[in-house]
Symmetry: C3
Subunit: 674 residues, 3 copies
């Protein structure tokens, strides 16, 4: 066994002679894993009453014969034309209230009984047919679940979901604060999905009633999950032991992956970082997504189910990955917990919207291209490392909290400032932790915090359940808590706490926020922290400290000199409040203080990422990745680089060219962290 | 009696113990006026056949007992869910032709017979129940009327409105110039509302036929007014003497408030100035809106029905009002004619889209906040001033003409330049008048001009009725008229005058406009006026003077040296034409010349607003407001500042810190201006 | 006979006394041609069962009596209200899937049988009534055909069109690559028009399946053509010899004019250049459009059917034409092959959306305006030149290929870069040829290339039929071929060639493109050509030369030093490949080298356009047009300027003020080029 390597493979789109060429190339590239049948529905079931597995049989037979690890997909990510024609209501109604007709993918109404019935039946048939093939290592259900539907069937399903959640209209009316603007519902049937024709203005983030819109997001996440769960159940009937997953999308706003996590046997995701000219920002963002995925299943390894070997196609501008970047980013996946690294796609599509998306094999099928060479070199490296890091984990004493409800709530809030993006703030805080190479868990607000020394929770707008108690306990026992402006504002229903801001955290933080000023993006209020000035923007809370110590102060405006950053001491620990949105350096300054000695190796070396994975047998592997310019760093450990065989003593110079990767097996194992 | 002070109050959203806290706070703040029941429909009528006034009874009883002045609202600004479900056609069809379902507010079709019936019935019941309560000082119908509907019922109502207006299709075809593009209507039923599915492209301001779109705007204004009038009539049946109003929105394009004015017993409006970093620009804009509102009812005092004590919530960025600004702007309202200054809202909403909108009492209900303190201090000042300025008026010998038809016509015109905004030009001209502290009426084009010495009419695109004659008479008797580029272009039907431009004004102005050049916003043509160069932009008319004197000339392009500003002498007066859009300083230069000695006190002191209100007994009150940096100015009068008791002789230094306000009762009264 | 001069004339919109004034003015202006009845449908047929030609009879009678050349229009560009009411399905369904109701123009569904029947019947009646009037010189069908419809009737027509094109669903499925995303169609009825409700996202250029969208563009072009062809046939029944045309729109993306060309008796178009502050860029663009129109009919003269004498109205900003520009641009039309130059409009509209569009006669009907004077002066010049250039042609040895399929395909492609615009690149290459005054044909890819020495084909994304063979033959016999990045990518179905890029051109060009890098617009990679650096942007192909010579190289990034421009020698000729998008100067540098001695007169004089037209009798006329600043140039020929009578010897100084125009009849005629 070794790190899974391969990707989406669609030989049904090609004549048999191409299959031969494919396998020759796979061998050159060290590819051992194929995902089969994504989007093959029309192929597998050309009519409602007719299945045809003949080609897929041949594909599976060949893959098996070639020794591939096989990941069969269910094809529910794209319905066939006959289905849309037979069941027009299986197509979605969009945010504008328009019923769509046949086209694109990810287009099925999650509440359509016909779509559900047909997709589940096909999943069952696939499992029945291929479930006992020992080459099948995992099931891949659907594809990149997402989007939403606002049809009347979803309306009905939403009302059922609401009955389940609230029990009574009184409770619902209270939750949504419907006395405002005369919205008191007197019959469940009066409730319609919130969209451009009902509660919204200026798009999905502008709603008259945050409550209904927030619940519709929760409902949609659950409704899509319903499809996954139903297909998984059908697979389980025939394939009871093979793990089932779906390819998620990392930092994807529309779906609350924390609600999905219990239903996944392992996590997997598609790594297509958005365009960003800063390679460090991109690297940090990918690391955050890897860690979020790793955090879904309590730190278990995950798969990168897709990445492009070179270019994407759907962006406005699709640059090629620079030399070395594919390798660097692939190893970064592994460094952050991936046990498999797959491509979309093994052979480039002939036509339609992804024909220019990169692939291991281009239209001419060449194996003498730069891209293929980089793919093959990486395959060779994976082979060299073998199973060394499979199943390895990354213990952490610091946690970053991610909360989809807060993400949704803060971005659909009217006031104080539409320029505040949850992900912007989250990635800023994460970047400082990542830059310091802090071993870090990225976990939901429901996570057990008892194992952490530091918990960082930016923009924790909504505070649910006993979170405040758990955070207080963390601090009392000597831990550190860091939160920011716009946290502690609303309860689970998105209603304001009728107390001082920041609500349940006010007493822990030893302060109240009396006012919240907001300014356009070009307005900077300098904040002085530890003698240095940093830029703050967007939101400026006016803090009235109770017993909190003032750590930083505003520099201008009528609140110049008042607290911008505070620290309260509680028990043996500390609770920091950052009452504004600081720039990168300001956030780093706060977090470095808050972290104390919890920073990782080479914390002060810019652009060099260091992570550790500890194998089940206790062997420690240190990954050193250079996302920036060439530099020389001291080795943090004794050990041997698995990629080159080079040995290092702690403190030895390590030469890090741009895109350098080292996987250092440390000389002394640690005890099993379990 | 004193200046009304209070605001929107919704105790039905809170438990009774909160009511107690509210009234304690109101007493601290000097609040004596509450607007009750805005958006309370679902509460008051939980089903079509069931009314429930029990809570409102308690609210009114308590408010009465507390000595409040009560302004009951009719709740027609937001329909309840049961109504939308029972009568789906009561919901609007939007500009895109989509029937909306239940959501938001201001969402009722003005032509819906069901909505009309139900809203009027409820208004009648409210008046029946509370009309004889002596604490009720005014009725507030609906809320911020606005928007439009394009449904088939509106189509039918529009056709009736057109029959009424035009009598025959021939007249309509001529008015809309339908021979252009084969639009000759041969049956009334062929006429459909103009929207994105019929005459429009690129949105509401781009239409193939300006005539139908203009008439639809007039129709919509009348249709919404129809709802107000019907509710008012129902109120009048039970409450024959209490004045009825609705809260308007100042410089609001969609509704022609001049068409509404005769139906209002007094004017009131909601003062939420748009984001503008220049406090002077904001102050001037608010002054314009106050004066427009004051002008609706011949100079009678009006109410500010809403303003926020601190932040708004619906803007992208919602800054807090800086210290002193609430007081300054509230006094500015009074200085410009308000007899009441109310807040939205007295207690901050718990949830939904206005939960972060500012309030007198925040979520924690604190009375020790900066905002509450400023509110309370202002309440104390209002108490101190008492009834001194109630009913006081501001005589003016200068008028600024505002014309919704011109506003609509010039902004939906194809050619010459879409970057010309009516409000931009109007506010530029007003700002120069405001800066000069000219006592000013802002009046419709139908106003009696016989009492004015100077009439300023920017962008008077459409010329209706006998306006040109009245303007000519003004000039002949020694008055001054100032108008601008793009004036005098079209008749009441938006058809071009088939004469030289500017149509009915050409002879008065002594010139013709032969061509109209237009340029992008970054192109400046310098105009030399009285030896100084000013920037001109957007539109450059090429003027052929007849007997007009050339006052300013263009500096560049093929028309360099030709007239940009002219003055014609007629009888004892003058008529100015500004053939381009000048910058602030250029407009000020023209207007200072045109005004002659009509400027007000401290006309040359930047950012200091001075207005006068003369009480019914003839007492003169001079308001001095500093919207800018601290400065010292000479007192323009002898008198006593009602806020501090300080006495001034004319010429004494007045120290004006930022946001300073003085209300100087002048030592010598003048005779009653009536 | 002389150059046709006049324009759109709508006396039916005016009382008879205005007609008298019109003709007096026409005489002053030398106007001899009138286009009648555009948009007169409602007027001519006030009800389905009633025609009324009385006014048009009078109009035609008067025009005939006045000696006008008459161009009757069919009015199908705008349906009357009664038609839309009687046949709601004659109105279009838009890209968003919304059925429109009555409004605007160009609004008829091309698949509506009712619209077709009624429009054809009226065309037949017009031809029957006026076809034998000898003053009728041409028929003008419809107006500015364009737009599209997505209704179910169009869906049905599209499916028929597809059956015709593909014969079988298997062939269609292969063409559209439907195995991708499970789109395999198993019944023709499953196919729906591609729009926002089916295959599209983010608008018309973003589709999941390029194949269906491309075919819908082809279908739409054909469907609109169907209307033209049917009306033409009806006219032909009564007017068998008079030529029939329609006014096209030059560089208009939605219609493939090459598919229309065989059905036109002569080409005509409306010249409204888009706003561009560079007069040279505008001039070059108009020249390209003229040449494209000339190329539709094998080099035959065409008409400018519309241009404005001064301003447009539909733009955001509508500047006046500067003095001399109307004359310069009108002569430019003639210089590039026009035999008639007409205006929209002869008298300015009274109302609706074109009331501010310029006209020969303004609202006041003045003939003493600058615009009228320029119109009249030009009329006098046309009279002076008489028939000298009528029917004259412009032989060329260089060709620029234009291909609507490539235009559509490259702009709807996902990847590599959405910032690449076909027209941007085409106009850049044309501008370099125009600046060099190269006699140039602008022709389709199906054109016979055997007469050319140089063929330039930018962004030839799609390669169809035997084009590669014909290009290869051109090069083999000593010609030169120039093509660019993103050429040779897809076949006629928009599927990638399964070979090295650039597909069928790879062998001719002696290279393969291994990767295509893309960058945002602000990223420049300098390309060094012949020792000089030029800017390249957007797309950077990484070229692996086979036997191509490297002409230019990239300056930065990991591919610095690799080929950016290459030249392969084949037979006696050369094939250039420009693997990136160069700036103007870079393109000019490549083309100057490629052209060798094929440049025209004054090729190095900026902004001076020189073209030649050779009359049927062999007389050569050299047009010299100055689009830039004043300058003096040597006369390229011996001859006499027809406008001034001035004689020149070759080499004499010609004084060229701004907007100068000379029409030099050369002293020695050449043999008939036929």
């Amino acid at each position: 066994m070794r790190i899974g390597y391969g990707g989406d493979y669609n030989p049904e789109q090609w004549p048999r002679e191409v299959w031969d060429a494919d396998y020759s190339a796979f061998e050159l590239a060290g590819i051992d894993t194929v995902t089969l049948g994504v989007f093959a529905w029309a192929h597998l079931q050309p009519a409602e009453d007719r299945y045809d597995f003949s080609t897929l049989d041949a594909i599976v037979e060949r893959a098996t014969a070639e020794g591939m690890r096989i990941v069969p997909a269910t094809p529910s990510g794209a319905m066939p034309p006959w289905l849309a024609r037979a069941y027009p209501e299986a197509c979605r109604v969009d945010f504008e209230g328009r019923r769509h007709v046949y086209g694109q993918r990810h287009n099925a109404c999650p509440s359509s009984p016909d779509f559900r019935r047909l997709s589940v039946a096909l999943a069952g048939r696939l499992a029945e047919r291929y479930g006992d093939n020992p080459a099948v290592v995992a099931w891949h259900v659907g594809n990149e679940y997402g989007g939403a539907c606002w049809c009347s069937a979803c309306g009905e399903a939403f009302r059922s979901w609401l009955r389940e959640r609230y029990g009574s209209l009184d409770r619902l009316n209270h939750a949504w604060n419907t006395t405002f603007w005369s919205h008191t519902f007197t019959d469940w049937a009066e409730i319609v999905p919130p969209n451009a024709l009902s509660e919204h203005w200026r798009g999905p983030n502008h709603t008259a009633f945050q409550g209904i819109t927030l619940d519709y997001k929760r409902f949609t996440s659950d409704a899509l999950l319903g499809g996954f769960v139903a297909e998984k159940a059908a697979i389980r009937e025939h394939s009871p032991h093979t793990p089932v997953t779906t390819n998620m999308m990392g930092l994807y706003q529309p779906i609350d992956y924390h609600r999905w996590a219990p239903h996944l046997d392992f996590a997997s995701w598609d790594n297509y970082p958005p365009e960003d000219r800063s390679s460090t920002r991109t690297a940090a963002r990918m690391a955050l997504a890897h860690r979020l995925m790793r955090g879904l299943r309590g730190g278990e390894p995950f798969w990168v189910m897709e990445q492009t070997p070179s270019v994407t196609a759907s962006r406005d501008v699709n640059p090629v990955k620079r030399p070395g970047v594919l390798r660097l980013w692939s190893w970064q996946s592994v460094a952050n917990g991936a046990d498999a690294v797959l491509y979309f796609q093994l052979r480039q599509s002939r036509g339609a919207c992804e024909k220019y998306h990169g692939a291991v094999l281009d239209h001419a099928g060449r194996t003498d291209t730069r891209v293929f060479r980089e793919v093959a070199d990486l395959g060779a490296e994976f082979a060299r490392v073998g199973d060394a890091v499979l199943g390895a984990r990354t213990p952490a004493r610091a946690a970053l909290l991610v909360d989809w409800d807060s993400w949704w709530a803060v971005e659909m809030s009217d006031g104080p400032n539409r320029n505040v993006g949850y992900l912007d703030v989250l990635t800023t805080y994460h970047r400082a932790l990542w830059q310091a190479n802090v071993p870090l868990d990225v976990v939901p607000v429901t996570a057990d915090l008892s194992g952490y020394d530091v918990v960082v929770a930016p923009l924790l707008h909504m505070v649910k359940g006993d979170l405040a108690d758990r955070v207080t306990a963390l601090v009392e026992r000597g831990g550190t808590f860091v939160t920011t402006a716009l946290s502690g504002r609303v309860d689970e229903d998105d209603n304001a706490f009728l107390t001082d801001v920041p609500g349940p955290f006010a007493s822990l933080l030893g302060l109240r926020v009396e006012e919240t000023d907001a300014q356009p993006p070009d307005v900077v209020n300098p904040v002085t922290l530890f003698g240095t000035e940093y830029d703050a923007r967007h939101v400026f809370e006016l803090v009235v400290p109770d017993d909190a110590e003032v750590v930083g102060t505003y520099g201008t405006d009528f609140y110049a000199g008042t607290p911008a950053v505070t620290r309260a001491s509680r028990g043996r620990g500390h609770a920091y409040y950052v009452a504004t949105l600081l720039d990168d350096a300001g956030v780093a300054a706060v977090l470095r203080t808050a972290l104390g000695n919890l920073t990782g190796p080479l914390a002060d070396v810019p652009d060099v990422e260091v992570t550790e994975r500890i194998a089940p047998d206790g062997t420690r592997h240190l990954f050193v990745l250079n996302h920036g310019d060439p530099r020389v760093v001291p080795s943090p450990v004794h050990g041997t680089d698995l990629l080159t065989g080079q040995e290092f003593q702690a403190g030895d110079d390590i030469n890090l060219p741009t895109t350098a990767v080292l996987v250092i097996r440390q000389s002394e194992a640690v005890p099993d962290p379990q």
